[in-house]
Assembly symmetry: C3
Homo-oligomer: 274 residues x 3
């Protein structure tokens, strides 16, 4: 029935295919051919090439904002053509995740509470010829499109019981400080760390009325502000940004460039000297 | 009714979120969740970061080409999280503009003739939690989606009577010449100035039969041609491009790089020596 | 009838307009205005500026994966505003191609078997004002949208009988080796040559049990592997990638940067010394 079809959840795409080539476009074509009425929404195709962590974080930050039942097709796949397993995951939250089993699905799927996982082995739901270099086209897009059409997860292949995990790393804590590291750099040059609000709040509670300082590399100590624009133009700051993780930014500027920092750079949150 | 719904005007997105991150994708997800049948069309997410002028010009050049009633959600928002006001504007031309009140909506909205403006204050039409860093997700996308669903402008918040303006600057004229400046550099490196056809025509009329020369920085004088391809390959030229403003280009090349010019660079149109 | 309309083939866009500007967005707006129910799918807008060969290859690699009857609107158009002809092509395979007659449509259209070609001259199916710089907006998008609405090819203008061709060049063969050249560099830095599987198989058959070596510029000889990931991390390799042409890649790396190679660079496939 038309009106029900139109409001069915979309298929969302997240890849590192970039915007120069036709690769993401071909995935859209494959989906449109198998599931002509499915709506396709791009999350991004700009994940840094082969960066499983960046893809995993982008997915973790996105999936909740999509309609329940959205099918996420995720391709950040440095192991394409090897033994790494293509999988699909159903979750209690309703979201379905399709992609390589290399950790890229983990942060989102575990947050959505995994119910069932299958290996994408059924030849029926792949393209007739499967290349060794482009499983986004040959395996993942078809799986997403067939799921949208209503096949059941188990039609795609046998159930498996473990999924490759990935973690952000836990900040280390000593008496006066927390040390974390940068896990994501966004297009504005904002440096997102793995330091969560809770850890910062606990540190702060141990040093009442002192306040905290954030440093990255050899930066001067920065305060934790509520918004980018609470700093003067061009000034560095720390804030809990949209990831709800501590990030280092420069008001109207590029913190990654300013501090020559990137994924892996250490970030320190310390109590101010009392 | 399905067929009417399907042909309702789209929601058009214009941001400086870039293509690396999930930010634009999350806005699409938010819209799809609130207004599942709304069609989303991207104008671009490649506005140079924080460039209000570039965003304003891209919107000015785009809105007329969209279906009447299109809802434009525009996020170029260096002041996110501060006192700058989120607004929505209804126009006599039918277009609706949603975004921060920092001038980015002005060139388009004033061309479309502003009828009514409101502040986006109603908590009902925002996401439940509003961050200080991502109002595209938390305020602007929800407002656009709810408008699409049929709420009235005044449901979003109280009416206001002034809107932040922005202007391209007026070229200065002396007896023999016009001086303007570059206001937009496109992805091909074409340099778009604030010099309009009328000013050039008036200058030309004052020096009949002499013809005009255009110079930028230390360029050799360039003729005003009808099309890029009227110049030899690799040669610089001036033309009235798709903005209907005088632009400096290089046939099959990049004028911004050739002339080391950018936003703010002066451009001179002068009568040829007689 | 709604349900039939919804599953009608899409309009697919392929341009070199990039992602910085509103140009591709304006084309989407023009289509939405003329054909509000048409679904628009982007192949890419990241074709390197003015690169007819890159656009032609991206289209050749994409069209088969789209629903039969898809209307491809392709704008890589260094000659915009000159005498080069805007055309539309109907094919036996069902695909319809719209774009400038400069070779960009050739590889795909000839593979799809050309049935009929027309010049886009009818003012009725252009925008009312046609610029000299933006035929994507003024001519090509409107033609695609009107075709989607059901006008016949011949309504767009007079039939023509020749189309601008383009070819990838044929690898040269001597007794022990094949020499081809790079014709496409993708966003991962993979270097795609014009050397096809058949030529390599014939060379291989002439030197049974020796095996083949691939070199580019001063690279060490590389083996032809089945998948990128069959090489150790950071190692160069040759493979038949998704274009089904021999490509040079670096496992989890960027071959274009590693070998300082690009379009036109020679690639040699030679029998190993026996």
């Amino acid at each position: 029935m038309p009106s029900r079809l139109r409001t069915r959840p979309p298929i969302a795409l997240l890849t590192d295919f970039g915007y120069r080539d036709h690769y993401a476009g071909v995935m859209r074509g494959v989906i449109a051919k198998i599931a002509p009425a499915a709506r396709i929404i791009d999350i991004t195709h700009g994940v840094p090439p082969q960066s499983i962590m960046a893809g995993a974080l982008a997915l973790r930050e996105s999936w909740r904002y999509f309609p329940a039942g959205t099918i996420f097709v995720v391709v950040v796949d440095p192991g394409v053509g090897t033994a790494r397993t293509p999988i699909a995951i159903e979750t209690r939250a309703g979201a379905i995740f399709v992609g390589p089993d290399n950790g890229v699905l983990w942060l989102a799927a575990s947050a959505a509470k995994i119910r069932s996982v299958v290996k994408l082995t059924s030849a029926r739901y792949r393209l007739p010829a499967v290349s060794n270099t482009f499983h986004g086209r040959d395996i993942f897009a078809p799986a997403g499109a067939h799921l949208w059409r209503g096949i059941r997860l188990k039609d795609l292949g046998p159930r498996i019981t473990t999924v490759e995990q990935l973690d952000l790393g836990v900040p280390t804590r000593n008496t006066r400080a927390l040390e974390g590291r940068i896990v994501y750099v966004d297009g504005f040059g904002n440096l997102v760390s793995n330091i969560d609000r809770g850890s910062v709040a606990r540190l702060n509670a141990s040093f009442p009325a002192r306040g905290l300082w954030v440093t990255i590399k050899r930066s001067a100590p920065m305060k934790i502000l509520d918004a980018y624009a609470d700093a003067p133009k061009g000034a560095p700051l720390a804030t809990f940004g949209s990831f709800d993780l501590l990030e280092v930014a420069v008001r109207d500027g590029d913190a990654a460039r300013r501090f020559k920092a990137g994924v892996g750079s250490p970030v320190i949150v310390a109590a101010r000297p009392g």
